[in-house]
């Protein structure tokens, strides 16, 4: 169908994109993703956990449903490509060790409440005085200062305060979040981006800086173009449940979730050239199966304009699609939409994704050795390809203090020193 696609001819392993940079990752689960991304790109990420381990290790779901600090699935997902050390930042000795680590680090990422590292003499200013090249990234619910800076956050709070929830859910019923926490994902992703922008500047000037990431503000981009509706028209868009809002100047809502035989399908008739091709292909498919009403085959999609359609027109048009899709399966729709150029995808669950031939063909899934479990586990692969070679994960998430000896020996600490620190509760 297409000519041979441009191919990456000079393979670049993702793990070599960044130079030899060291990242100290002090985050809790609200910041894990940032260090994971930098690790994927080749940074040497050292996860610094309190003695006893990151509290996030205690949150499930767990591998084989066995609660254990090495078996938390969110922990495993977002702490691969990191080494792990323990360190108490509540003791002066521990604080001093962190300062020594920070002198030699390129990045430090943290997600403590604003002010709490400062109180230990470990804030941005204190560490920048020791290492002016340091990029110091803080991930918090609302940011480092401002009227809500001291407020406590959570995924649900961030989803609400960002406005996202006001746009999600059925009208007349409560606003909804996504059941799998997302706020830490957005914040962690944008923290990595901001850190890399600061890195670029540091490489040019020799000076690091403080990167202040707000979880609330990170989620604003999940609202897509919605803020423009307020800016131009002073309209609060309201949540439409399974219908898309904001596409029509008449206020019409368009169904996007259709029931099918084994679940749901997300399909929408768009306008414009892309919409015309898709709508025609859909009606063609229906006609081939003898399921297109006569009037539908005569609709001129070239002149159909979503932006000016009324609710009545939309409802009439969508009815035959409701009938047709009810008799299809997710897999049938996935195949037909790809083959025929129909704009839509199944509402996939984890199994559908795992079984998707597209991901298999691209070698997306990656086997990662877990000697401590005696198995290999299949992980989702990289966020982008920088070469034909797949695979972003070079090491599984660390055990508690797994790399204490390795990392602290760089500071000249002996095995005896480490034992002593351990006994005093510092490691």
């Amino acid at each position: 169908m297409h000519e041979r696609l441009s191919h990456i001819t000079e393979p670049v392993a993702p793990g070599t994109l960044l130079g030899p940079v060291r990242v100290l990752d002090l985050t809790d689960r609200h910041g894990w993703l940032c260090g994971r991304i930098l690790g994927d790109l080749g940074a040497d990420v050292v996860k610094v956990e309190p003695p006893g381990g990151d509290p996030g290790r205690r949150l499930g779901p767990f591998y084989h449903d066995e609660p254990h600090p090495h078996k938390s699935l969110p922990w495993l997902a977002y702490n691969a490509n990191k080494r792990g050390v323990t360190l108490s930042l509540d003791h002066a000795e521990g604080q001093d060790l962190l300062r020594r680590l920070a002198r030699a680090a390129d990045f430090l990422i943290e997600s403590a409440p604003p002010g709490s590292l400062e109180a230990r003499g470990l804030g941005y200013r204190a560490l920048a005085a020791l290492n002016p090249r340091l990029v110091f990234t803080s991930i918090t619910p609302f940011g480092q200062d401002g009227p809500y800076a001291r407020y406590r956050g959570s995924d649900l709070v961030a989803m609400a305060m960002s406005g996202f929830m006001s746009l999600v859910g059925e009208p007349g019923r409560p606003p909804l979040r996504v059941s799998l926490p997302q706020a830490a994902m957005w914040a962690g992703m944008y923290a990595a981006a901001g850190s890399l922008i600061a890195h670029h500047h540091r490489e040019a000037t020799g000076r690091g800086q403080h990167v202040d990431v707000s979880m609330q503000a990170s989620l604003l981009w999940a609202l897509a173009n919605a803020p423009a509706h307020w800016s131009l028209l002073r309209e609060h868009l309201c949540r439409g449940g399974s219908r898309i809002v904001g596409r029509s100047t008449t206020g019409a809502r368009m169904r996007a979730i259709y029931r099918c035989r084994d679940g749901h399908i997300n399909f929408i008739f768009y306008g414009g050239e892309a919409g015309r091709r898709s709508n025609e292909a859909m009606v063609q498919w229906m006609a081939e199966l003898g399921e297109a009403p006569e009037w539908l085959t005569r609709v001129d999609w070239g002149t159909f304009n979503v932006a000016t359609s009324t609710q009545e027109e939309i409802d009439r048009l969508e009815q035959p699609f409701v009938e047709f899709l009810r008799r299809r399966t997710k897999a049938e729709f996935a195949a037909a939409s790809a083959q025929r150029g129909i704009l839509g995808y199944p509402v996939a669950d984890a199994r559908d994704i795992r079984d998707d031939p597209q991901l298999a063909a691209r070698g997306f899934w990656q086997e990662v050795e877990h000697p401590e479990l005696g198995v290999t586990v299949t992980y989702p692969g990289p966020f982008a390809r920088f070469s034909a070679a797949a695979g972003a994960i070079r090491r599984r998430a660390p055990g508690i203090g797994e790399h204490n000896a390795e990392v602290y020996s760089e500071l000249g600490l002996s095995a005896g020193d480490l034992d002593a620190l351990r006994q005093r509760g510092i490691l």
Binding site: S154, L167, M185, N225, G344
Partner: protein, 406 residues
Amino acid sequence: MAGTAGALTGVKVVEFAVFAAGPMVGKHLAEHGATVIRVESRSRPDGFRVHYPPYKDNIPGLNRTGSFALFNDSKLGVTLNLKRAEGLALARRLVAWADVLIENFVPGVMARNGLGYEAVREINPSLVYLSSCNMGQTGPRSGQRGFGSQLTSQAGFTYLTGYPGEDPVLLFGPYIDFVAVGFGLIAVLAALDYRRRTGRGVHVDLAQYEAGLQFVAPALLEYEANGRTMTRMGNRSPHAAPHGAYPCRGEDRWCVIAVCTEDEWHALCRAVGHPEWAEDRRFESLAARKAHEDELDALVGAWTAQRAPEEVMETLQEAGVRAGVVNRLGDLFSDPQLVHRRVWQELPHPELERFHYEAPPFILSETPAELRRSPLLGEHNRQVYRDILGLPDEEIDRLIADGAID
């Protein structure tokens, strides 16, 4: 032109991109000082200039759409027609000038237009070339066209949103496009670092689908390890109760409350004036509260319903309980915290009058983002073709008359 103090000053970017997933990457580079040239065509304008509301005063027009403005601030806008030989020649000169190229067409389109990676690396071997599309550059479904509002469902997000046993609900819009934006930005920045150290270019093949899956990794591992497909559960959480959106005074006003520990539970009981709830056997532990969650929600909801959401937030936060207002779209523009961070930057625009541009969610202490308004269609043709490519004015006039610059 670009500011002089931005973190990315000196980085040169050319964009052959449409809608959000490509252009938003360029926006983030531009607001930190990169010179970003957005290449458009008057004969085939971006869909966000044409058939997507909102329009200023509800009147369509190429320079009257909010979506284009929101995703394209701080850039230079030029037009050219790639179907014309001289238009393509101009495009190739821009590619030779650039450090970074961003495109988000269906695989094959750039190659058909003479701007595929193989072709352009001969002009500019050290180019960082970002290809962002739904399914990736390879694989049996690579040619599939699609929009983020549907791809969000393919990547598992929609299945995880809504109530158990009911139809799933939409995540408003093209949620996954913006996940792909963040990862696209990260990929470009990492590739620039590689280029700085090695002098070599990089082609980035970003499947928006695969980028999106990073955000649902625990659900994928849960299926892998335990054979279960994680599903939607309203606003509830296995780790916290109460945990939900509760009705407040006013029309369609809501707050959220998330109680994650026993200390927070006791603090909530005191703050709402019901210390007896803390003594109630039905609520004596997380497991007990989860077992009686409907009753618990009814009690909490009866208290919140008497109050404005702001009052609930202030009262509970004062007591150390995680709570917030469900901001409506318009509330975001007066949210004191977002205002404090200067997230909204209202700038004058010749046809929109004033528009709220959106600053990034990270603030760099030494080189904060600087936003400039979005370009009109072809606004910077003369500036770019004369000052950057060095074309004489009469040559530019001829190219305009011939339609190569359309």
